[in-house]
């Protein structure tokens, strides 16, 4: 019998150890924040800094994708959903049927950069060229068709790197570059995260990929994108702020109804100069130009 009691006591100690450490601290408000993988690193940076702004509020950040965050908000398991796309009509209807009226907050802008291998001599792309590369029925399958010769890419074939279809980035690129009705060409490599796209492109001379500018590294090349006015604009925070870059999208946070209390204070802080400077430092564009010194 004694042995059994020893076992029980050990289990109880293991269970109570963290509790006794925490006992005595006052309770705090927990804000649940979930959604877009594009926004997750900014959301993390906000949560990290907000700890110093208000130590009584804890912000729990989780990724998973825009769709994941929105459905969690509809289910009532998160307070703030991060989304790199607008809620679809169907999602808004579903939310209403749950008695939730989603409120949209634009928290920043994101330039969608096109990446190629650093040895690729390309200078810039026109949107039509990208549509020809990525779009269903598009004619461009080989770098030769663009008059490019890439060292290390013997096959000349364009290796298309894309995202999985629950990604907000996937949807935005499709709508903006390919056109709303147009679909992607089959046979692309669909990655599960923006970071994977960049990793693959920087190691593959034949590859082309796209993702948020914030995931860019020095190991990939970002060609400029031609606008309707025949200007070729390089993706940067600056060109996203002044809206001259043609494929920049708004980033949203959704709340279930008008937020109150700690959630409202947190959103206000995100939209304040301090919060907006954090998003800028992460490689995204603030909603309005801010001076971060």
């Amino acid at each position: 019998m004694n042995r059994n009691w020893v076992l029980i006591v050990i289990l109880a100690l293991v269970a109570c150890a963290p509790r006794s450490q925490e006992a005595g601290k006052r309770s705090r408000t927990l804000i649940q924040n979930k959604g877009s993988d594009t926004l997750v690193n900014v959301a993390q940076a906000w949560a990290e800094r907000y700890k110093e702004v208000d130590p009584n509020v804890a912000v729990a950040v989780t990724g998973g994708g825009s769709g994941t965050g929105i459905s969690a908000m509809i289910n009532g398991t998160v307070d703030i959903a991060n989304a790199s796309r607008k809620m679809k009509d169907k999602e808004i209807e579903l939310a209403r049927s749950h008695g939730i009226d989603p409120v949209k907050w634009t928290v920043g802008y994101d330039a969608l950069a096109v990446f190629v291998h650093p040895d690729n001599p390309v200078e810039g792309f026109a949107l039509e060229q990208l549509a020809g590369i990525y779009g269903e029925g598009g004619e461009i399958d080989s770098w030769d068709q663009l008059g490019l010769e890439i060292p290390g890419c013997e096959s000349r074939e364009i290796v298309r790197v894309s995202r999985q279809n629950n990604s907000g980035t996937y949807v935005y690129f499709k709508e903006t570059v390919l056109g709303k009705k147009q679909d992607y060409k089959l046979g692309s490599l669909d990655m599960h995260g923006s970071k994977d796209v960049v990793d693959l492109v920087q190691n593959t001379p034949c590859a082309i990929g796209y993702s948020s500018l914030a995931y860019a590294t020095h190991e990939v090349k970002m060609p400029c994108i031609e606008t309707a006015e025949d200007e070729c604009i390089t993706p940067s925070v600056q060109s996203a702020v002044d809206r001259s870059y043609p494929i920049a999208r708004p980033l949203f946070m959704y709340t279930a109804g008008q937020p109150e209390g700690a959630i409202k204070t947190y959103l206000d802080w995100i939209l304040s100069d301090e919060g907006q400077c954090i998003i800028q430092s992460k490689g995204y564009a603030p909603v309005l130009p801010v001076d971060c010194g």
Binding site: A43, Q44, A60, V61, K195
Partner: protein
């Protein structure tokens, strides 16, 4: 005098050859383990320090330590154990000591085997549906740990049942002949003689619970949460999910960091196991048969 015939000699040589072949296979088995540990220590070693264990992640999780994740994993494992060990041991006791061999017992056994075969991501979906949404625990340690507990129940049940059945029937019969009831026999004879086996099951469960990512990522683990959990209704960071996100989702993480996290996770599991293994050896030493 006996002299080896050609056949004898050939047989002996073939015997040696097979013995060698089996030995090589066994050694090959150890290689991956050594390779994994070697790579982790070599690449992750430089990241490890007291600070790494006791500070929070900072600079967008590209620097700093793993403290909240470490404590979070301890919480998840502890609550999962509290839920699954009593249920698992009780179920094993029933199956081993009381259950008659009828269709109900067979169905229960089949269910346990099937539960063990369910992929962890399916457990995760079940956890979201049952604990997060239906029981309204929200994404919390409680929901995540209960999901883990259900996932690891078969391990506890099977290990416990086997160690109970390893206790010779004669022990029980001797006890019954003294007029003891089944419960008295279990308490005084069966359990004391099988604790070491039950602990083995718990060791296995701890290792699996601490390492699982899929069941907790939808039910209770956060990408980032700079505070320690205060109750089972809080969300928490966890080592396994932390390793996943810093290796796949956070840009600009120095290479040593994910390896360091993996090394700490393995060391943690080994440390928890070491305690149970030591305890087990102590009990085994006291065994009288």
């Amino acid at each position: 005098m006996f002299e080896s015939s050609d056949l004898n000699i050939r047989n002996r040589q073939v015997e040696k050859l097979w013995r060698l072949a089996f030995l090589v296979m066994t050694v090959l088995l150890i290689l991956p383990v050594l390779a994994i540990l070697g790579v982790l220590v070599y690449k992750g070693g430089p990241a490890i320090s007291i600070d790494f264990l006791l500070t929070e992640p900072k600079d967008g999780m590209t620097a700093g330590g793993v403290f909240p994740a470490l404590i979070g994993t301890v919480w998840l494992v502890a609550v999962a154990l509290l839920a699954s060990v009593p249920v698992g041991v009780a179920a094993a006791l029933y199956l081993s000591e009381y259950a008659p061999d009828n269709w109900l017992t067979r169905v229960i056994n089949l269910a346990i085997i099937n539960l063990a075969g369910v992929p962890s991501i399916v457990h995760a979906l079940f956890g979201v549906g049952a604990f997060v949404l239906f029981f309204r625990f929200g994404t919390s340690i409680l929901a995540a740990s209960l999901t883990l507990a259900i996932m690891t129940l078969p391990v506890v049940i099977v290990a416990t049942r086997e160690s109970l059945q390893a206790v010779p029937l004669a022990f029980r019969e001797a006890c019954w002949n003294m007029g003891a009831t089944r419960w008295q026999t279990i308490r005084k004879v069966v359990l004391p003689n099988s604790v070491s086996g039950i602990l083995t099951g718990i060791i296995l469960e701890v290792s699996r619970t601490a390492g699982e990512t899929a069941p907790i990522m939808f039910t209770g683990a956060a990408f980032f949460l700079p505070f320690l959990p205060q109750s089972v209704f809080d969300q928490t960071m966890a080592m396994s999910l932390h390793l996943f996100v810093i290796s796949t989702q956070v840009p600009g993480v120095p290479e040593a960091l994910p390896y360091g996290v993996a090394l700490v996770l393995i060391a943690m599991v080994l440390a928890m196991n070491a305690v149970s293994i030591g305890f087990r050896m102590y009990l085994r030493g006291k065994k009288k048969w």
